[in-house]
Symmetry: C2
Subunit: 397 residues, 2 copies
Amino acid sequence: MQHPIPTGFRLAGVHCGIKRKATNEDLALVVCDAPAVAAGVYTKNIVRAAPVILDEQRTPTDQFHVLVINSGNANACTGDQGMRDAEQMTQLAADACRAAHDAALVLSTGVIGVLMPMEKVQQGIAAAAAQLSNDEASLIAAARGIMTTDTCRKIASRQIETSTGKVSICGIAKGSGMIGPNMATMLAVIMTDAKLGANDAQAMLTEVTDDSFNSISVDGHTSTNDTALLLASGQVGTAPLAGAELASFKNALLEVCVELARMIADDGEGATHLITIRVNGCATLADARRIAQSVANSPLVKTAIAGNDPNWGRIVSAAGYSGVDFAAEGVSLHVNGFLLYEQGTPAEFDDPKVSASIAASRETDVELTFSEGSAGCRFWTCDLTTEYVHINADYRT
Amino acid sequence: MQHPIPTGFRLAGVHCGIKRKATNEDLALVVCDAPAVAAGVYTKNIVRAAPVILDEQRTPTDQFHVLVINSGNANACTGDQGMRDAEQMTQLAADACRAAHDAALVLSTGVIGVLMPMEKVQQGIAAAAAQLSNDEASLIAAARGIMTTDTCRKIASRQIETSTGKVSICGIAKGSGMIGPNMATMLAVIMTDAKLGANDAQAMLTEVTDDSFNSISVDGHTSTNDTALLLASGQVGTAPLAGAELASFKNALLEVCVELARMIADDGEGATHLITIRVNGCATLADARRIAQSVANSPLVKTAIAGNDPNWGRIVSAAGYSGVDFAAEGVSLHVNGFLLYEQGTPAEFDDPKVSASIAASRETDVELTFSEGSAGCRFWTCDLTTEYVHINADYRT
């Protein structure tokens, strides 16, 4: 699929030696030559990487110029030197693009607790700045430059018509994978050429992130570096989007973010199934999310799906310990459209048939219905296989 | 080790056919011929098995006579018929021991959502009632009768001297394992011949459970059937224990419960390491427990220990997303006594040496220190191996 690069953006991805393998890009630049809007949503972990601390101070802004991203080193738990390195990365990126120092942002992902190899980073930024382009090869190189153990690059895009022209949205993301001896992170960068107010961009990104990047789980382990950025060049249109057009932009942004989020869950370490959990009939959205997350993080549920097992007892009981109060006799459960549990009572179903439906598809649908109200949500996760354990336990041996 | 059976108790364990294999006991009786005290602590899952609902209504009591326990069927998510079956099980057990109907309690563990095979249960209760004894063989048969996929029986005991005689405490437990296509549960039954007030027994059991059975995790999946019972025959002494003697009894009870809880974590499915997590320096005990639980449930931490990997980034970041607020720069971490992370900064340590210390021992010690206060806790879990995934995903194939 051809992904349109929003007007005003140039990208590059290079290998500068943070990762060992020379064919693996490990540094990317995303540049907007004119001042742009940037909004950010960051990890809720108390232990925050230096780039997260820095970017939080600098967003939202309408003076954004350049973003530098590296993979292979998370610059997390690196103390004062880590903060200085993050600042220097933005300085180098800003200098390379003749932008103000604080018009630059930085994202890092990879090994925790190791100081950034700044000499390599400096060379990488210079090399990337020399290759900036708005062609698809640059987009792909940048998308590859933020990967850790992702098995595939993650790009999603949408276009919508507005009264002042066609607006493009294009995002890149990386998923949960291991690098070196430590965990990696989820990163997403969404570019658009829409004209957006900085506060609108921030509010939209926060809201959309809750329904996408904050609604996925691979192993329930929130990292120190998770970040989603929305960058808006404002090259299409004269006044910031508002009213119905802003709403339609938000829908398209949500679609891009959900598509990227699903790609991250689908590419979870060792995954053989992408699991969509739908929770309906809750008193509040927060309740629905809490139940969905409890089911998504249950190793018993995840191993059952890996074994093509419609194990409704594990799903219903994972809802039961979520901390949300509900009437047990009002719970129903569908898996892949089959009714397994109805109003608190086991339903009669064709076990081998349901099992075969799980085995036949990469995607599994789990739908839990409660009798408390009308709030609901979607949540995405993946199954838990022996390959996950191998990736995360055996890489030293 | 010889375990003293507290005076006043008789036990039996038999095979009645709930489990397929004839050498696996699947039904146990614990009988006190004179009225005894019984206190219970139950699962916090909203979805509760019939025996849990019934026993909750009947405890605490000072009129306890007989407990029937079966493995192989959890009698959970079985609707009204399940409640009738649980009641009938207590009726059958009470009749067999010539006790009042409501002087009986029932525990079940095993497959969810399948009606109890009451004919087999009836025969089992009759057979067990004919074999009741206070010898060690009966204790072992009862301990075996409550096992599901536990690889070993779990018995712990202590004796303490009181002014009115020697008091014995003896407990049996079963751990987290799978049976049939569904999850099983944690059960524990602690017998003592001490004379205890029913309210004292309940308060002690609740408190001690928080520091033992509620401080372990195998996969974070709270079951529908979890129960701990304290049964006190009152055969030693004339007045209920009080003051310093009650405190010393509570200490011994805690030791028995911690020993059983550690056995459950150690026998977690596929486990190769028992992990003790110590959390110190928190503002509150609740904070310490929340952090310990977050670390204990992280698949990334559990796979790291399985791989003998002193992966401090995973441990520190799991604390960071626990939901507890703390100063990141005040965190220190020891693994097996080695300092890996000091006041928010990576410590220099001999990585292969720490790894070798994990590989060399069945037990791994993780100690996290914070700078918020003086509250702390202990928590036990096990590592996550490919064998866990095999047990829980592949048993149908």
